[in-house]
Structures are given as structure tokens and as C-alpha cells.
Symmetry: C2
Subunit: 235 residues, 2 copies
DNA sequence: AAGTGGTCTAGACCACCTC
DNA sequence: AGGTGGTCTAGACCACTTG
């Protein structure tokens, strides 16, 4: 029997987690029900609940009403990604942020973009291309589409003074965001922007944001060579 | 005043979230304290707490004791990534999974690997190289280092029969995982594996796992061309 | 020092899902 | 139909942090 002096949901969580790690509860096993754990651990069911929710959110166990709590049979790695606004990211490193607008114009969305935004038909949107600099060196090239119908004010914004990235975030909170990460070869166009030969591999982040199922913007952010995205689980 | 028939923390959360979205509570603003919200929304403080925790976890608000709750001034995109075991990922798509061991041997860790594992000195580890196939086509090439001291049994496993990926996950749960994503040019070596010319850009995932600060394994997973990693926030 | 969020309890009822 | 997790309440105390 485990003695607990100061029951706290984190301690309870760690005890249960420990039992998963040392295979007291092996993958696929069913855990005792909350009531029993609460009694044996000397705390209230609410506290066990709190601990269990944490374990469930981090993907360690699965809970079902009536079905009980089971250790995940096929574990997954669940990590949290924090993607800051580009300016913040650069300034946080202690570097000097710079921004340059390349082009702004209205354009019909190609099928690929419409699809990401959940639209069945092409639509005229605002297309903004720009570069973010870190210590005067190109850091991120962004190619963005802004849905004018969802964000009509965007037509009157001077994107040479403020990046669409920042303007949108300060003016148009979103309720959903789809993310996509992949690698792309620089080729000529990106090569010219980052001043490299066209054979380098670049890391790309695509984000499409919505508010109540209405698309706000879709952006392809092509990062400079050697960019790395970090994430962590646990700790 | 908002009328609530059936208070539930999700409704409370959505109401507060709605006020953030419509700028009733603008970025940087201080929200009323839980007690007041509870009263005005007709629910208990615990329920407001539950709602607030959700908003805080998703990065919308920041809470401080005595300081109160504030709408985040510089919003971030916080998303959850689920990275399944490679076999699961392939089979879930309805494809046929295949696996081939390339090499296994003992080797001294280069500085780069030791560093990722938090080791100050090089150490002899098990190095396993293998390919995962999807419908007979190379899907992921993995180059893995396994810490023999943390996982001594690994020395006796026949990795031609089971992938290190699966064996480890079924036998060595981890408590922490560091992730790193970036793009790499295929060049000759990866090009040969995926049967492409060396100029293509490939998406790479690096994972290093630990148990109680002891390193278990560090793997570099190089994915086939056109691989994309997806994530979502909200919904 | 005092205000505010964080946690805990005991009990109750509800909702979902397997058995 | 019954077992199990999910939520809610009211109240209490604690811990942090700021004014």
C-alpha cells in the first residue's frame, strides 16, 4: 500500500503513471475504477479523476464510460506545438526583426487553396507575399491568401507597414487552425529569396485559420535553410 | 445578461471564448475573477475554473494567482501533434506494412547524438538502421541509436523480425520525448533508399526519448518524398 | 497583507456504453 | 440494465503573487 501524506492530483498521477511505466499496468490492461483507486490511494474520486484526465489527455490511457480505463495498447507520441508569431519568435532569440512586403493584389484562388479553406468554388481573395527578416537575413517567406468576405477590413490595411501575420492576429482571432508541415526543394524562386542555390531543402509550414467554419486566411510559410521546429512531450 | 439553462463547463467556456473573439475581452484585457463570472453566468466557481483551465491550456488566456486572468496579448498557435507508430500509421491508411532491417551493430555515439541524449561523453550504443514500407514502397528510413545501459535487453532482440520502433514502445515506455522537425536534401544516400535523384527535399522527424532523465533511444526518421505531417487546433 | 486562482472533499446526479 | 466515467455543487483551505 502506498502512503500519501499530501494527496495532490499530480502525485496521484505520477503514482499511476509509474505503475504504467513499470508495467504494473501493462499496455492494454484495465485499471481499477476511479472509486477503488481513490480508496486505495487515500484521496477523493475527484482527485483521481483529475489525475486520470491528465493521463488521458497526454495519450497514456483511454477512458470510456462503463468500459473503464485502459492503458493504451498502441501508444502514440502526443506533443504540444507552440507556434509563435514570427516577430515574437525572432525577437525572443534576441535578433532584430525586419519585414518587407513584396506584393499585394487580388486574385482568384486556385483549387488547392479553396480546398484547404473548405470552399467548393474559387473566390477572389487578397494575396499577400512578404518576407520576415532576422538580423537582416531572410528568415521566413510567406505567401498568404486572405478571405475578403470574412475579413473585409483587410482590403484597407497597408501591409507594407504591418505584416499580415500580426495584423490578422491582433484583429481576427480564429477558432480553428489546420497545420501542415513538409519539405520542399528551394528551386529558383525560393533560392533567389534566400540567396541559395536551388537544391537546398526548405521546411514549410502551412496554416489555415477559420472562425466558425468561415475561412480567414491560408498561409504558406517557407523557412530559411536549417530551420528546425521543436516540440516536447512530458518533462 | 446571458441566460443558461444547463450550465456545463463547455458552454461556459464557449461564452467566454465568444467574448474574446468578439473583443468584449480584447487582447491584454483582464477578465472578471472566477467568482464574479460564476455568479453572472449562474454556475459554480468550479465550473468556471474548468472552463478557464481549458482556455488557458489552449493558450487563449493566462492566469495568475492574485494577478487574475488576462487575454493573451501575443496569441500563439498551440496545436496537438499525434505521432503514431509507423506501422499503425501505414495500416490505418489501408496500406500493407512492410519492414526491412538494414544493419545492426555497436558504435560509439558521435557528439551530436550524445548531446541530444543529454550525455556529456560518447558511449557505445546499439545502432539500428531499417526501412518501413507502405505497399512495398519505402515510406520511412530510420537511423536509430539505442542506449544499451538503459535498455540492456535490446542487445538480445532480433530486430530483423520486429522493428526497434515497435519493440521499444511495447517494452520501454518513456516519460519524456523531444521532437525536432526539419527538411533535408536527399543526396546520394537517401536518394538510393527512396529511388529518387538526390535533389529532392525530404521531411525529417527526430525523436529522443527518456525515462527519468535516462536516455532510451534517439531516432532520425527520414520520410519518403511528399510526406506531410498534419496537426489541428480547435475544431 | 490581501486578493485571486488552484486544489480538495463529499455527495449527488447524469450520460454513455458495454454486457 | 447496470456499471463506469463525466460533471456539478458548495464550501473550505492553500499557495502564490502583486500592490
Amino acid at each position: 500500500m502506498t502512503e500519501i501524506e499530501r494527496p495532490s492530483w499530480k502525485k496521484i498521477r505520477d503514482i499511476i503513471h509509474g505503475r504504467i511505466l513499470d508495467s504494473t499496468y501493462a499496455p492494454g490492461d484495465k485499471l481499477p475504477k476511479d472509486d477503488d483507486l481513490a480508496e486505495s490511494l487515500g484521496c477523493s474520486r475527484t482527485t483521481v479523476q483529475r489525475a486520470m484526465r491528465d493521463l488521458a489527455e497526454s495519450g497514456r490511457v483511454e477512458r470510456k464510460r462503463k468500459g473503464g480505463t485502459h492503458v493504451r495498447a498502441h501508444p502514440i507520441t502526443r506533443a504540444t506545438l507552440d507556434i509563435p508569431v514570427t516577430r515574437q519568435e525572432i525577437e525572443k532569440k534576441g535578433s532584430v526583426y525586419g519585414y518587407q512586403l513584396l506584393t499585394v493584389h487580388r486574385e482568384q484562388t486556385p483549387h488547392q487553396i479553396s480546398e484547404k479553406m473548405g470552399l467548393t468554388e474559387p473566390r477572389e481573395m487578397l494575396r499577400v507575399k512578404a518576407i520576415h527578416f532576422s538580423d537582416r537575413r531572410p528568415y521566413v517567406y510567406e505567401d498568404r491568401w486572405i478571405c475578403i468576405e470574412t475579413v473585409p477590413e483587410s482590403a484597407n490595411v497597408d501591409f507594407s507597414q504591418i505584416s499580415a501575420n500580426e495584423w490578422l492576429i491582433q484583429n481576427r482571432p480564429y477558432s480553428r487552425c489546420d497545420l501542415r508541415f513538409y519539405a520542399v526543394q528551394a528551386r529558383q524562386d525560393y533560392g533567389k529569396i534566400f540567396d541559395i542555390d536551388g537544391n537546398e531543402a526548405l521546411f514549410v509550414m502551412e496554416r489555415t485559420t477559420f472562425i466558425d467554419h468561415q475561412p480567414i486566411t491560408s498561409v504558406k510559410a517557407v523557412t530559411a535553410p536549417n530551420y528546425q521546429l521543436l516540440a516536447q512531450m512530458g518533462g
